[in-house]
């Protein structure tokens, strides 16, 4: 079950659905679908965005922050925007939307998969690993 961002207006989700982490641009998975967005709060035309990172040493974090800020500032009700990375909550694959999960083709934990060969036969084209 995907975790949806709390306290986030619909316009912000729409705007950020067009913003991509460089690692996911090719697959069309936005920062919203990745579950990177924790909240967007608008106070007197100033927006404050909280983001989680999938990895603390992502070398592209700076670019994502800039893209998020630009997308939020483009909204007519926003004059200024600050984007903050939050560290008090860890990103996990639970935060992915179903569509992102499908596109990323995550493998299940072996305990869930059970018999490896049977799992692969059922999930690969033509039944072959």
């Amino acid at each position: 079950m995907a975790i949806r961002p709390a306290e986030t207006p619909e316009w912000a989700i729409r705007a950020l659905s067009e913003v991509f982490d460089p690692c996911c641009r090719e697959k069309g998975i936005s920062v919203v679908d990745m579950g990177l967005l924790r909240s967007v709060v608008l106070d007197d035309r100033h927006a404050r965005v909280e983001l989680l990172l999938t990895s603390g040493w992502c070398p592209f974090a700076a670019r994502v922050l800039t893209d998020v800020e630009e997308a939020v500032r483009a909204h007519p009700g926003v004059d200024s925007c600050e984007v903050e990375i939050v560290w008090d909550e860890a990103w996990s694959t639970d935060r992915l939307t179903e569509s992102a999960r499908r596109k990323l083709r995550f493998l299940p934990d072996p305990a869930v998969a059970g018999d490896r060969n049977a799992y692969l036969a059922a999930h690969t084209p033509g039944g072959q690993p």
Partner: protein
């Protein structure tokens, strides 16, 4: 040997980090990324170098000392970097790697490297690296940095990559490595993902391809590739160095690889001189996957047999070398 495991290190780069070697800020950024890896992943109780000490020109003697004198490594791949559009000499010049290999011709294997976007020039250089310098394999990097305005190329590109693979086969080479994951400098991250390995592996079933760095952070993608193609392998180079600072993360990566891909498909690399090889070697030899991860996730345990295969036997086989013969000729008793 470390214990009874023959150690064949799949990658060391004699880097030339001197400032005058870099073309502008993109090259400096690349160097800084590599220094950050040294600084972040070297354990607290191991010597760490300052940036000034690390960012120098590393010589063949430096690499030999680190790998053969200061660690229990038995064989090594001397591996160039062909980044001639970001560094004057490519950063780890192939000539220096050939020199490094020539110092220990039985123990050190030279891999060639070219930039496929250079067309015929790249093909001619492959001929030279094999014909005159005895290259046993090739390593590629899916980007041309072009002085800081990089553009990528794919391993499944019939016009760019396939002529290179055909030339390798013509030269008798059936082993090709590729840097995946871990974007360095201003590299477009898309080209570091592993999706293009399908096309390469399917079109060249007689070439064994090694995905370096297990494609991190794209580990699930890498597993899917290895699952479906028998001629794909994963190198733990730079990944094994998580073993001390982030052992549970390392256990999850290794557990996935062992379950889905199997112990025959994983090879070791030290990435010297970014890290001294011995601490990671010893930690890997002593490592076991935490039991709660085996119980909870169903990961197989890392057995002694698997450790022997990963540390050397698999890479020997990929080079067409007999395991027992190599062990008896080149295996050195553990001394560290």
């Amino acid at each position: 040997m470390i214990g009874d495991a023959f150690v064949f290190d799949g990658v060391a780069h004699p880097f030339n980090f001197t400032p005058k070697n870099a073309y502008g800020s993109a090259g400096e950024m690349f160097n800084q990324h590599l220094y950050a890896f040294h600084n972040v992943l070297t354990p607290e109780n191991e010597p760490k170098q300052s940036a000034e000490e690390f960012l120098k020109e590393w010589t063949p003697d430096d690499i030999r000392q680190m790998v053969y004198e200061n660690s229990d490594t038995d064989m090594l791949v001397a591996m160039p970097l062909p980044l001639t559009d970001m560094f004057r000499d490519g950063l780890s010049p192939w000539e220096t790697c050939a020199d490094l290999a020539s110092r220990d011709p039985d123990r050190t294997v030279f891999w060639g490297s070219v930039n496929p976007l250079e067309g015929r020039r790249a093909l001619e250089l492959m001929e030279r690296q094999v014909g005159e310098f005895g290259a046993k394999a090739f390593k590629f990097y899916n980007v041309r940095y072009d002085y800081g305005s990089p553009f990528p190329w794919r391993m499944d590109d019939p016009k760019i990559a396939f002529p290179i693979f055909e030339k390798a086969q013509e030269l008798g080479i059936n082993l090709i490595g590729v840097h995946k994951g871990v974007p360095l400098g201003p590299q477009p991250v898309e080209a570091t993902q592993t999706w293009d390995m399908d096309g390469a592996a399917a079109a060249f079933p007689d070439i064994n391809f090694v995905i370096f760095h297990v494609g991190l952070p794209f580990i699930d993608e890498t597993c899917w590739q290895l699952i479906r193609f028998p001629n794909l392998y994963a190198s733990l180079a730079a990944t094994v160095n998580f073993v001390v600072r982030a052992p549970r993360l390392f256990a999850e990566i290794l557990g996935k690889l062992l379950f889905w891909c199997g112990e025959d498909k994983i090879v070791y690399g030290s990435e010297a001189p970014i890290w001294q090889p011995q601490w990671a070697l010893q930690a890997f030899k002593d490592f076991s996957i935490p039991q709660d991860l085996c119980d909870g996730y169903g990961y197989p345990q890392l057995t002694d047999v698997a450790k022997r295969k990963i540390l050397g036997e698999n890479l020997l086989r990929l080079h067409g070398m007999d395991v027992e013969d190599s062990k008896s000729r080149l295996g050195r008793p553990q001394s560290h």
